[in-house]
């Protein structure tokens, strides 16, 4: 069990970073971005293609991929903040469903539907606890998720940039009237979360099932984790991601429970939503 749980921690770190991205997006630009991990997947696939077919060194290809992921996300953000500036969160998010579909099928066309020959960026064990080996990937992703969450928190609470972002998310009209540039800021948030998700997927993908669909569907466990923090709290999103990854890893140790493992994110989502919405009754306040 412990071995399984620790093995699942790498995935947990990945969920945590994606959950942090989803939470930032939902808080700051009013979108539940279903294409969050698909953007990362696409960036990584381009990186693999560059390294295999163009012969770029792995690190250079990875950097290009990460930048591309950020760029794609920024483009999507620009489209949404241009055409759907006033729309509700539901409509804005529904657009990302279409984009998710678009990115998966584009990757099928460009790269085929087989898992990609990833070159691991990180490899090998970091240390071992009671004979259970913890890999470098695990250490890096977990540390990364915590650092990113802390960093975002500091950025939002301590800097004037963060203040503008919060103003924009809580009182968009007032903020715009005060001269805060809404669209560039929104696009910047999109770009940043795109960069982060591509980065973390580049690190973890080599050691995961890494076909396009699996990578894109990482958004499901990630949103389960983000829901723990109610799409608002970054710390709980990180905790949620790590715990969910460990739970899945632990369950994976038992063969008879493998179906449970698939349904775990779904059950967590349903449970959390029912709990968090237990008092909400009506669609509008009045």
């Amino acid at each position: 069990m412990l071995q399984g749980a620790l093995a699942g921690l790498a995935a947990g770190g990945l969920y945590a970073v994606l959950a942090v991205c989803l939470t930032l997006m939902s808080r700051l630009v009013r979108v539940v971005n279903f294409a969050q991990s698909a953007t990362g997947m696409f960036g990584c696939y381009v990186a693999v293609w560059l390294s295999v077919h163009v012969g770029l060194p792995t690190w250079a290809a990875t950097v290009v991929g990460i930048v591309l992921g950020g760029g794609l996300s920024a483009l999507l953000g620009w489209i949404i903040s241009t055409w759907l500036a006033e729309a509700d969160i539901g409509t804005r998010s529904a657009v990302t469903v279409a984009v998710l579909l678009l990115l998966i099928s584009l990757s099928f066309i460009l790269f085929g539907n087989k898992p990609q020959p990833f070159h691991p960026i990180l490899d090998g064990p970091a240390f071992s606890v009671n004979g259970v080996v913890v890999s470098q990937v695990t250490v890096v992703t977990v540390v990364l998720s915590v650092v990113i969450a802390l960093g975002c928190r500091a950025l939002l609470t301590k800097t004037s940039f963060g203040l503008e972002l919060r103003a924009l998310s809580e009182r968009p009209t007032t903020a715009e009237l005060m001269g805060i540039p809404a669209k560039p800021l929104a696009v910047a948030v999109w770009a940043a979360t795109g960069l982060l998700s591509t980065l973390v997927i580049s690190i973890v993908a080599p050691s995961q099932s890494n076909d396009a669909t699996s990578l894109s569907m990482l958004v499901v466990p990630a949103s389960a984790a983000a829901l723990l923090g109610g799409f608002r709290r970054l710390d709980l999103a990180v905790v949620g991601g790590l715990v969910l990854g460990m739970a899945q890893g632990a369950v994976a140790q038992v063969d008879s429970l493998s179906v449970v493992r698939y349904f775990l994110p779904f059950l967590v989502i349903v449970g959390l939503l029912l709990w968090s919405q237990r008092k909400e009754v009506w669609d509008v306040a009045r």
Partner: protein, 573 residues
Amino acid sequence: MSRAETGPLTRFGVPLVVAGAAIVVGYLFSVGLDGYFVYLGMSAIVAGIALLGLGVVTGSAGMVSLCQLTFAAVGAWVVSYLNRAGAPGGFLVWLLCGGIAAGLVGVLVGLPALRLRGINLAVVTLGLAAAADLTLVQIQFPGTVDGVSVERPEAFSDDRGYFWLGTMVLTACCLLVHFLRRTRWGSGWQAVAFSERGTAAAGASVRTSKLSAFAVSAALGGVAGGLLTGQVGLAFPASFTAMQSLALYVLAIMSGAHLIDMAIFGAVLWVAVPELLKRWGVPQDWGFVVFGLLGTHALATGGNLGTAVRELWRRRSKGAASIELSAPPSDVELPTPGEPVLVVRDLSVSFGEVKALSHVDISVPSNGVLGVIGPNGAGKSTLVDILSGFLPQATGSVELDGLKLNGLSPTRRARAGLRRTFQQDRVPAGLTVGSYVRFVARRRLSTAEITDALEFFGCPPARTPLRRVDVGARRLVEVVGHLLAKPKVLLLDEPAAGLPHEEHVALGLRLRQVPARFGVSVLLIEHDLDLVRSVCDTITVLDFGQVLASGPQAEVLANPEVLKAYMGETELL
């Protein structure tokens, strides 16, 4: 212009004739088309049924469902299982079982969805689709490992025959959806998509509306899956991936699948786009890219193909419908108000530190109209919200004709005979005036009854689609619906807002006749004092959440306290 709705012959006859024609066309296609096209056509039929289902849940009821093919997989699984087990009844019975099983799964998934809306439901259904995807690959469909393929009915065993059977199943599903949408359930779907509060205020259960939409949608998905199994013989997980569910959702949004013809058109696209790409030598995966792009566009602009085509058609027909109020018929004798029918004692509610209402007593006389006035923020709308059950945290007692209403949900209160209207537009634009009035009234109404009531309030005819009715008139249609429900008391929250000022008094004269004509007592909240003067014998004045004065009209309006509270409000001066 006649205000009547269409007769039963048109209502039932036309769809049945169209259905008959569709089956004939299906037969002609099945014998006339090239074998390959028959096969493609079958795929389109399967997609069409799945899209019809999505149209119900996403189009009519306004929910996001990303797991339609998971329901299809349930249908396929049941059909495969029954086939392998050699269950009695044959394919069509199995198909029905598959549909029912998928419907039940839909109810299970829908249960948490009752309190979830919009984007949360999307997360839930995507989670289910992803989990089902992985699970299906692991457990496989019954019979696929040992190659027991599903037996088609004998009369339709070849591909052409099966296509014709498919046409009939599709037609049956279309008829089902068509007629369901005309029932209370269907109106409920439209209402719940537009406003949950409005639905509950009409005495319909928000829960039933959402759950029935989800169940019907899932059942149709199940039938589609079962039919697909019969087409290919052995079901494989690759036919039911989350990815394809996403694509179907996008297609449903893009084509506007809540319209039956558009669901079928969407199904044709579903098959034709990849097929054309194949012929042009383009990889078929571009099909989903095309759907993705068009879907992004449709979602970003908020339009869809079906509505666009209909708009084009409508532009040639008439413009917006509004109300025509002249002097009302004065042929009724006004009854004298009797004993109180609605008694409210010691009503209080606070939002945090703010006391919105404190210790309010109000009583509405039977056969009478009580006016409640007060400056902005006095707590008038809060009062209506509490009485109709939308603010359960309020304290105090509410008694309707001796029945204690405390603790009852808005739906129960509406059914018990306490109705309300809203200040905001809560009338779903997807229905006609007549079907909306029937939905709100919750009782059997004759066409003449509806026509009379609509005419009395100068509303557009029953068969006018509500989307062509302007907002002021919509709110009067809402009033008519609630009056026809024959409640004991109707709470009207600023019914004249949205009407031109010169029509306020004309409306007031009609409201005055409401107790006599409809047997309904009224609590009227209004800003316009001219209107209140013309309607109400007794008035209660609220200010800062407290009753400032209460009693006969002349006495209350002469009260210096009331004048002071209203200082600056030009309406009174």
